[in-house]
């Protein structure tokens, strides 16, 4: 059946679309620092997320104060003033460094940087997300300003997630007809997807993240070893792609979705072609974007596979955002975006 997908499907290869059409836009940029009085006040997230659910890994998600570069980002030894300003600890106790306390040698500098970089890399990987301030550089929190008139990115995304959770928690015939029936899998159903959505999400600021892209290639070491994107930082990738959101595909077992968001300015003149007319609806696309990213995390499907399932053959040239339009049109907002 056209548009259906099973595990034996081999998605078609790309059609060589130019980079100018690389669009993964949401319908509007999320507000960022405008309402924040200072970084210090909002740099650390509260353990409870704006929608009331416990924040995933709230003990290690933090933001390194501005100006801090860290050994993972710069190959410098951790000076005393640096440690004080960033409240970091050396990986090796100073007392054990012996004579090196007297002066920082080149070898010590290289060694410290090497160990610190290795440690920060490894800790950012599976089973190693323990407490590390460097995790804050890899997984920086989204800007948050609880109670502000104009919500910040974190509040926007949580509101979108809350809205989507509400849709999935209630009977939704369109969800089954237009989404879950498209995938020939036993776990392709609304109740199980709703359970996945209920897990604490991991939303991060993709514009600042130094996490390696292979972190998003899947939950296992094998996925990451094979990942084409290697250690390219998430922020660099998102900037080069003009991506507004990217997810871990699929999510780690028993964990919620991991999504990196980026502030991408919406340009109506570069609206991607989705085999349909341009969007006319003014409602927010945020819940549809979260839905789109959650499908990546839940099923492990890539953009190409989602587009193929939703739009059928001939969707090879469509942009990633077309999936978002489809979900907004068919399931969430009820028409006005695309009529493939």
């Amino acid at each position: 059946m056209s548009g259906r997908m099973d595990s034996s499907d081999r998605p078609p290869s790309g059609l060589g679309v130019t980079e100018e059409s690389s669009l993964c836009f949401v319908d509007r940029p999320f507000p960022r620092d405008a309402d924040r009085p200072s970084r210090e006040k909002t740099s650390r997230l509260s353990p409870v997320s704006p929608d009331g659910t416990p924040w995933a890994g709230s003990d290690w998600i933090d933001v390194i104060p501005s100006g801090a570069s860290g050994a993972a980002a710069s190959w410098q030894p951790l000076s005393t003033s640096h440690r004080r300003s960033t409240r970091r600890r050396d990986l090796l106790p100073r007392s054990s460094a012996g004579p090196m306390n007297a002066g920082t040698t080149f070898a010590y500098a290289v060694f410290t940087s090497f160990v610190a970089n290795a440690a920060s890399t490894v800790w950012a990987w599976p089973g190693g997300d323990g407490d590390s301030r460097r995790s804050g550089e890899r997984f920086p929190a989204l800007p948050s300003c609880p109670g502000a008139q104009t919500p910040c990115a974190l509040e926007v995304q949580y509101a979108a997630l809350k809205s989507l959770r509400s849709v999935m928690a209630n009977p939704c015939p369109d969800c089954s007809t237009y989404v879950f029936s498209k995938f020939n899998r036993t776990d392709s159903n609304q109740p199980q997807f709703s359970k996945y959505l209920a897990r604490p999400p991991r939303f991060f600021d993709g514009s600042r993240s130094t996490a390696p892209m292979n972190r998003l290639c899947g939950p296992g070491w094998w996925d990451r070893a094979l990942c084409a994107y290697g250690t390219t930082p998430v922020a660099q990738f998102m900037k080069a792609k003009g991506a507004s959101a990217i997810s871990e595909t699929p999510s780690e077992q028993n964990k919620g979705m991991m999504v990196f968001f980026n502030d991408v300015k919406y340009d109506p003149n570069t609206e991607p072609y989705c085999g349909c007319r341009r969007p006319t609806q003014t409602a927010s696309l945020d819940p549809a974007t979260i839905f789109h990213e959650a499908l990546h995390g839940y099923f492990g499907f890539q953009d190409m596979q989602l587009l193929s399932a939703f739009y059928g053959t001939g969707s090879e040239g469509f942009a990633s955002v077309c999936t978002t339009y489809y979900l907004a049109d068919r399931v969430l907002n009820g028409g006005g975006y695309c009529y493939p």
């Binding site: 290869s13 993964c24 892209m213 998003l216 296992g220 094998w222 084409a228 930082p233 991607p272 499907f301």
Partner: protein
């Protein structure tokens, strides 16, 4: 008659093959406007054929910030630092294999005495690649069977995992034999 040693032929052939497969994989990569990763089968096969080099690239990338060596930030460099590192590892890998084959063909394998500590160190070095390869290859095969395929390419990732498993098991067995021989050699002396 000019005899060309395998240790020189093999790396050249393998690196040329790796470059070819990488170029083909690059051409099959999804269009730029997708925000997710999909690995073409040829790219995965290339990584499976050179599984120890893939592991080496991954390990080095985990420790050193290789992306900082890129001149211009690109979402997916065709032959960036990591790819060049991978190709360097491919050359080294197949040189070692070619050297082993040369010795084997010359019949020197049985006559070469293995000293204890060098033998143990070489064996340990082989195990350093072999054991992790077995572990992650098994993980890869499991993920292919239990989920919708690794990297949304079940065929490619399963092929790569099987190749990696073959490499891992070979290296592990060779390392065990090497270490055992080295220890026994000392015991006889």
């Amino acid at each position: 008659m000019l005899s060309v040693k395998i240790r020189f032929i093999l790396p050249v052939v393998q690196v040329a093959l790796a470059i070819l497969l990488m170029v083909l994989a690059r051409r099959e990569m999804p269009p730029q406007h997708y925000c997710t990763v999909q690995m073409p089968t040829v790219g995965l096969v290339c990584m499976g054929i050179n599984a120890p080099a893939t592991l080496f690239r991954f390990a080095v990338g985990a420790v050193l910030p290789l992306y900082k060596l890129e001149r211009s930030p690109r979402p997916l460099p065709a032959f960036g630092t990591e790819q060049l590192l991978f190709l360097g590892a491919v050359i080294a890998l197949w040189y070692v294999v070619g050297r082993w084959l040369d010795k084997r063909l010359a019949g020197k394998m049985s006559t070469t005495a293995i000293r204890r500590w060098p033998g143990v160190l070489v064996g340990a070095g082989l195990a350093l690649f072999g054991v992790p390869l077995v572990v992650i290859a098994v993980e890869g095969i499991q993920s292919c069977s239990s989920r919708f395929g690794t990297l949304s390419n079940p065929l490619g990732s399963l092929t790569a995992a099987m190749l990696a498993l073959a490499w891992g098991m070979t290296l592990t067995v060779v390392s065990i034999v090497r270490i055992t021989k080295a220890i026994r050699m000392r015991a006889r002396m």
